[in-house]
Symmetry: C2
Subunit: 457 residues, 2 copies
Amino acid sequence: MNYIEKYIEENKDRFLEELFGLIRIPSISSVSAHKPDMYKAAEYWKELLLKAGADKAEIFETDGNPVTYGEKMIDPAKPTVLVYSHMDVMPVEPLELWKSAPFEPEIRDGKIWARGADDDKGQGMMHAKAFEMMVNTHTLPCNVKFMIEGEEEIGSPNLGKWCEQHKEMLKADVILVSDTTMIRPDLPTITTGLRGLAYWQVEVTGPNRDLHSGLFGGAVANPINVLSKMIAGMIDDNGRITIPGFYDDVLEASAEERALLAEAPFDPETYKKAIDVEELAGEEGFSTTERTGIRPSFDVCGIWGGYTGEGAKTVLPSKAFAKISTRLVPNQNHEKIAVLFKEHFESIAPKSVKVEVKSLHGGQAYVCPIDLPAYQAAEKAYVDVFGRRPVPFRSGGSIPIISTFEQILGIKSILMGFGLESDAIHSPNENFPLEQFYKGIQTIPLFYKYFAEMSEV
Amino acid sequence: MNYIEKYIEENKDRFLEELFGLIRIPSISSVSAHKPDMYKAAEYWKELLLKAGADKAEIFETDGNPVTYGEKMIDPAKPTVLVYSHMDVMPVEPLELWKSAPFEPEIRDGKIWARGADDDKGQGMMHAKAFEMMVNTHTLPCNVKFMIEGEEEIGSPNLGKWCEQHKEMLKADVILVSDTTMIRPDLPTITTGLRGLAYWQVEVTGPNRDLHSGLFGGAVANPINVLSKMIAGMIDDNGRITIPGFYDDVLEASAEERALLAEAPFDPETYKKAIDVEELAGEEGFSTTERTGIRPSFDVCGIWGGYTGEGAKTVLPSKAFAKISTRLVPNQNHEKIAVLFKEHFESIAPKSVKVEVKSLHGGQAYVCPIDLPAYQAAEKAYVDVFGRRPVPFRSGGSIPIISTFEQILGIKSILMGFGLESDAIHSPNENFPLEQFYKGIQTIPLFYKYFAEMSEV
């Protein structure tokens, strides 16, 4: 047992307790009623960093939720690692599907069950504890900075501006992030690509009030009928998005790239079984891995309108709403896509309704080259702990702020994720295996070690 | 001032108080939590009938909500009028659109504002008070029976069976109903046609849990995208319903009938302005009056799925739901249509989702011939009070029980409605003009008078 494993073994229960304390704060960033919880979470992180050995830690205000920043500078000649994580979590609805309360963490079957257990309180906590270990064992080889934000799940609308304002303070050689997944528990994965995102809320208004569906039905446009048709028209029979110009900037993957992607292990039967669907669906001519990795997608995340209660109310409703998102790939500009969607959605609306399109958030896609020294340091760290080379992976998810960091701070991010697909992030019964949590704490210090060594050369 | 007007004048405030008492009972039949209110309303009606002069009144249990029945038999040789009304009301959502609380009736601008003010507590109360007037002025010319049910707004699922069980008790020469509207306050209207109804709830299931729209988006069918497409496909570009066989039994109106319908006053600009839409929409080749009167329609009454809260949750939801209704015309069988819809909906579902279709309710359409003596008695009553002949009207609405009465009891119904289109029944801010309420009470006794006279001939 090396010094890292020994430290973890001696402190593992306390690590969990500290994580549970953080999880118990219901810091849902998309619901404004939880604003006070964001401050509790920021305060919690501040104390965590100070106790772990930071020289200083501070809560910064932004135009939205606060950011906790902390640092330990050991030597200006040494490389600096900037750790990024987020203290906010997704909403927890539908509550009735949770087997245990989302903000009361429980250990069952070797996993932590709670909202944020993985995304990103669990993965963020690994960095705090790895840092503490390095400080207490006098093995910290780099300067460390922590930037923990409170708006990742709503698209980090204010962190870009905050980074602009604190460029000097945030100077670093690499940004280290654990907010992604591994393909399998025995197959470590470094995410080298992230999809971008554009997200809207649309409102379709028919008559100025709910009408009797008998007296008016058939003569007045029903906004739900209309919205359904507008949504249906957004994807053609080949699974391609019909917004004019949508694919203009998409970089088509080369045959070689696609061959590499096809090497990643993927078993469609296991995949279908895990989510209980009989058939997969998506853009014609692309594999599942490609559909989520290198191709954009169009999903209605929510829809509502009319009577949704018990029984059969016969109504021709006044309004229908939907929350619509597209995932974007490198080279697509989310701001341009936001405009294209709005123009298209408005143009296909019949005159019998009024439509309103609000852009809720967006972010660019990201790519990390695998010849980067930081990438190679991460690779070596994984080899030491997992016994095999990690796979570079293009994820379908979005962390819009990652490309913003590159634009504003000029720093590349390394995405060392320890989550698993079965962790059900953003869903009921989110969980995080204890083994992944502790292996993460074990792997991170090795990244620091190899990164420092490479920087010396 | 005749004896009817005098009686109304002397008792008008008490009439209102009695109506308000009934309105204050929130008897929403589609919400099971309001079950106790149904009994309160039934009790209220029982007392109302007894105080008005009924020989007896009784609350009957059914498999659903109770029925209040009361009668006054003056002479077996005289004709018998069976009054039908309902004590239940529609849900009141969205509550925030009401200018005053739905179950706290208020008088503003010469109108009663409340849920049920028109449909059908206000219109039902007119019959109770007209009956009381005839008893107290010793002018009642017919035997009278009252049948007040508690499930009209959910399609009267149990009244048919109850009628079967009480055929003898319910024997009558005509059924008199006030649950429809007049075209204008100065243009009395007798509804001679009602559309039928078939209503379903559909559930589309994609993955077995909500998924992260980034990690899975583009590779897994999104049930909202799919449901939207399925709904969109239900109506073609000419506004025709695409369910195979749907129109097979529709009786196409003759050129002569359509010419008669076209004589009814209709101003599209006023109509559009009242509901604030720029353009009307519906089946190609038919006028607005035809679209609601003699043609079937397809409306999504409610839709929901995924994240519908504040902000931008990126989720690929597990499920999407819709409440879907069609209005049917004479000769279409709602049970046949229910099967056609279910088969079609299931057949167009892609293999990437599972669908479930539940039939929530249905009813046949109805037609009343204008050469019926009871129709002519109603016509004369209106002429006396409104100074002009009423217009026979094919309504787009459904009162499924009306055709059931004909099937089971073998009695035709006369639909003497005193509501106005601006009464916003089924919507927020339902209202009923005081003038219509009192004119109704004035007109009804004249119907009894003429109906008795005609029956003597």
